[in-house]
Symmetry: C2
């Protein structure tokens, strides 16, 4: 089985990771963004890690894109009684992960080890590695000033225009030994269809991470990126508006420009087939296919196509 | 309304405090034992405070003697999936208190303030004051060595013989300003029918606490104690066996001996009426009445009797 490393953030990345796991099992390593990790109610919450985790475990809440299917919210309602903010909804089963993981981290465990323990407990085949064990905090500048990412993303429902992005702590972060080792043994690298600016961006911008990708490429490891933009729009989340606000084109081509020089293959939706020549002109081999992952079959089908491109 | 301070630990004390609150409202201050507070899953849990809190809020789980009536245990079951110990059952609504309070304490709040916030949120009339904000840990020596209190009390279901008791941190603890002020303005003091050795004992043994009681007595404030032992038995918990193991008599008289010199009045059950003369001989005025608090009416009735004795 080909050893593949995929870089992922939220829902789209989690779906493709699930499709890849269906083919690769424990030969898959997912390196996830930790920039939108946050502390809620004294607990460490890792939205991207957990979205990938729950998708790989087959228990994700499909409609919302976060949390566990059928979860209850008894604790959250009672937290509200005690004056805690409740706009960042955490279900009861979901909270158990934040409680158990935070307890281990506070007791001195590395975040990576605490996450690997949770993955083992849920019995997933693949490994999900936080991009770093160092604290990184994505912040979004709006007309109201700099906001913590979840304040913008969840509380303000991505409504404000994004005037800037920054990643506190990123310049001092380092990839973990597990991440380094995953790249050193990778036979294929996949940049998942996640937000290029706030999901894949911080992963690649951990100092040393781009070098890990380039070093792998230099020894012949193919790198594919999958467009999160279809027909100019993000299926979920604010990637389209963020790209435009940052001066990029909100299109498959606009995303391809961000990955030119880093990837060999660019997977884009049939809706954007017209962009293939321009993408080829960037030095990326375009692969045009259906990229909408409506169910497990579609996830596995797109994953097979991507694996074919890096195989 | 008479300002009353009551010293309390677990279920019996919580029931009497509830009865007292029915008469006194915000003129009641409950000083609770914190010796069996513990950390579970990275969260500060305060069993005695919370048993009193839930009783005063009218939401206590009557049968178990801890937690909230009708609470669910979704989080606990999922914590078990992550390998956390689950013998110390915490319900979902109950967990919200531990989460919210721990968050505030970790953010720098005093334990007392975090508790007062929770009391205000649940809308109780009385105040419940932790005996100290300093860490105190009750430990029980059994044939297996020294055990953390909840390991003995909950996990081992109080089955082992108690060969010794100690209270880590107690010698360095101090009563809070709120506790001191409560004694300074008290017009009556009530030692609740809680375990004399592991509930009332540590409260009284916080350095300075006995002096607060004695100072109040010296200015004429009456002190009443209520026996937790009826017919030689504790209604709940291991007080009877603990007393015997520590060389005391497991009887109302045995408890009265522990409070002689500290209290003026000793309230005992009609089942133990025969002990009244011997209790009087200790310098305590015996008040014989029905002390079993089967329902809210019985709680209020006993409370009225106790208030009559210190009024």
């Amino acid at each position: 089985m080909t050893r593949v490393v995929t870089l992922a953030g939220g829902v789209g990345g989690a779906k493709l990771a699930d499709g890849l796991q269906a083919h690769l099992g424990d030969a898959l390593t997912v390196v996830v963004n930790t920039g939108d990790d946050c502390w809620r109610h004294g607990l460490l919450v890792m939205p991207d890690h957990d979205t990938v985790l729950y998708n790989l475990a087959g228990i994700e809440q499909v409609e919302w894109g976060w949390g566990i299917e059928g979860d209850t919210r008894v604790v959250m309602d009672q937290l509200g009684v005690y004056g805690e903010e409740t706009w960042f909804t955490l279900g009861d089963r979901d909270l158990a992960l934040h409680i158990a993981r935070t307890a281990r981290v506070r007791a001195g465990a590395r975040i990576t080890d605490a996450c690997l323990d949770a993955q083992a407990a849920l019995g997933i085949a693949a490994r999900i590695l936080p991009m770093t064990d160092d604290p990184v905090a994505t912040e979004v500048r709006t007309a109201d000033g700099w906001l913590e990412f979840q304040e913008y993303f969840v509380h303000q429902r991505q409504a404000p225009d994004v005037l800037g992005l920054r990643f506190a702590g990123l310049a001092d972060a380092t990839p973990t030994p597990e991440v380094r080792e995953a790249f050193e043994t990778a036979e294929g690298i996949v940049i998942a269809p996640s937000n290029p600016l706030v999901s894949v961006g911080p992963v690649l911008d951990v100092p040393g991470m781009r070098e890990h990708v380039q070093t792998a490429r230099a020894r012949g490891v193919p790198v594919a990126a999958v467009s999160p933009i279809i027909g100019g729009r993000a299926l979920k989340g604010p990637a389209d508006r963020m790209l435009a606000a940052a001066g990029h084109e909100s299109s498959a081509l606009g995303v391809a420009r961000l990955y030119a020089g880093l990837a060999d293959v660019f997977v884009l939706d049939t809706a954007d087939a017209d962009a293939a020549p321009a993408i080829a002109a960037l030095g990326l081999r375009p692969v045009v296919t259906d990229t909408i992952m409506t169910d497990d079959t579609a996830r596995a089908r797109l994953a097979a196509e991507v694996l074919g491109a890096v195989g």
